[in-house]
């Protein structure tokens, strides 16, 4: 029977642990998971929200709100909000602090969860840059199984895996490492939704003026990992000579042009960022 008053009949479940969550989810497989809600609710400007018929709120699930640290890793529960990650202090990688501070604003960061940010539907979240560059892994948990997947593999096949296995991201594990040089550049509108924007990140370790480790990545509407450049620069002396720099930039320029053929602004911004980043090593 149609509801003459058009009153929404949404069901909201608020489980207290993963066992309850999977039990609800098994009964209602179409239920949408709701953490901070920033991805789901932003862009909705009508007076009342348009909600899925059934959703599961994750804000009370204990296992998703844990933070732990070992000598090698920092583990963050997927429902931890971005501001709480910043409050952990110096154990948070420098690149991660810079990127989180460029996402949204202070109020939104108090709502947005790290898990929800990773799964952002607007475009690839800037957070992927640091998570991929630092070889982070995500724990995908379902009712019967738990496994770890690398951040780089997740961007290609993670969403399908989550749907197939009816799983969620429960923890994010970030290796603790320090870098002698970190360069981050936000491209596009700062602290705003910008489908044409992105983030450029370079992490470098040098020892006795030699590049020992280097990670370079751009994340926006596409993800560009500069693997060839990373390999070519290993063992090179710093500062990088002019001729080497020119040849590196030509290679990068070809890669960027092929990935971002339609967007001259992004091409130029990425190349400019690469030039500045490499000059600073």
């Amino acid at each position: 029977m149609e509801d003459p008053h058009n009153i929404p009949h949404n069901q909201v479940f608020r489980p207290y642990n993963l066992s309850e969550l999977f039990s609800f989810w098994n009964r209602f497989p179409d239920a949408v998971l709701f953490a901070g809600g920033t991805d789901l609710l932003r862009g909705q400007t009508k007076r009342l929200f348009t909600f899925p018929k059934t959703f599961i709120s994750l804000d009370k699930v204990e296992e998703l709100k844990k933070i732990s640290r070992t000598e090698r890793y920092l583990e963050i529960g997927a429902a931890i909000c971005l501001s709480d990650i910043l409050r952990l202090g110096k154990i948070v990688p420098e690149g991660m602090v810079a990127i989180i501070n460029s996402i949204g604003n202070l109020r939104l960061r108090n709502l947005a969860s790290i898990g929800g940010t990773i799964l952002s539907t607007h475009r690839y979240s800037d957070l992927h840059a640091i998570l991929i560059a630092q070889d982070a892994t995500y724990e995908l948990k379902s009712a019967s199984n738990a496994r770890w997947i690398s951040a780089s593999k997740f961007v290609t096949s993670g969403t399908e895996l989550l749907q197939e296995e009816q799983a969620l991201i429960s923890r994010i594990r970030i290796p603790i490492s320090s870098w002698s040089y970190v360069f981050h550049k936000k491209i596009g509108l700062l602290n705003r939704d910008d489908p044409d924007g992105g983030t450029f990140l370079l992490l470098c370790n040098t020892e006795k003026n030699l590049i020992m480790d280097l990670r370079m990545i751009f994340v926006g509407s596409k993800i560009i990992r500069f693997k060839d450049l990373e390999t070519n620069l290993l063992g090179q002396t710093v500062p990088i000579g002019e001729k080497s720099m020119e040849s590196l930039l030509v290679n990068c320029s070809d890669l960027v042009a092929s990935e971002m053929a339609e967007n001259k602004y992004l091409q130029n911004s990425i190349l400019r960022s690469i030039t500045v980043a490499l000059s600073g090593i």
Partner: protein, 161 residues
């Protein structure tokens, strides 16, 4: 849906659908109009409230999330001694935030100082990056927050930096 929660220190109950925004609950049910619904997108800051100890945009908080939580609006915050520090800082500088931006500016200052009593200029700029009040000179805001910080430190520790 019946939503019991703590509003400005008092136990209250709201009756509304799960899809109603907190900002509309505050304005419609409780007549607390200091919290304004402007962009409805979490960007402008006009709907800022302190929810479970954090500064959040109430336009992005659906009713079901408010259940058993604690909300402090600008009206509630004005009853606190922390608000007195902030107003004293503005008075000493000879300025006042405009009425429309008052909520976002005052609560953002409180959020900043409650985590770091001596914020650096870049922290202040980062906190106010999305609050575009045309009535307040951004440089003046840095001085005002420094003044407020000194007032608060004097009150808490009997001395300023």
């Amino acid at each position: 849906m019946t939503i019991p929660f703590i509003l400005n220190g008092e136990d209250v109950v709201a009756q509304c659908s799960v899809d109603k925004r907190l900002v509309d609950i505050l304005r419609d049910t409780f007549k607390l109009t200091g919290t304004r619904a402007d962009c409805r997108n979490g960007v402008c800051g006009a709907c800022s409230v302190i929810f479970n100890g954090r500064l959040v945009p109430s336009c992005l908080i659906p009713a079901f999330k408010v259940k058993d939580g604690e909300v402090i609006t600008i009206e509630g915050f004005k009853q606190t001694i922390e608000y007195q520090d902030i107003i004293m800082g503005f008075n000493q500088s000879g300025t006042q935030p405009c009425q429309f931006c008052e909520t976002s500016i005052i609560l953002t200052i409180e959020a900043l100082l409650s985590h770091n009593l001596r914020p650096e200029p870049q922290d202040i700029v980062a906190a106010f990056v999305d609050i575009q009040c045309r009535c307040l000179d951004p440089n003046q805001l840095l001085d005002i927050i420094k003044t407020i910080s000194e007032i608060r430190q004097k009150r808490l520790y009997g001395r300023s930096a």
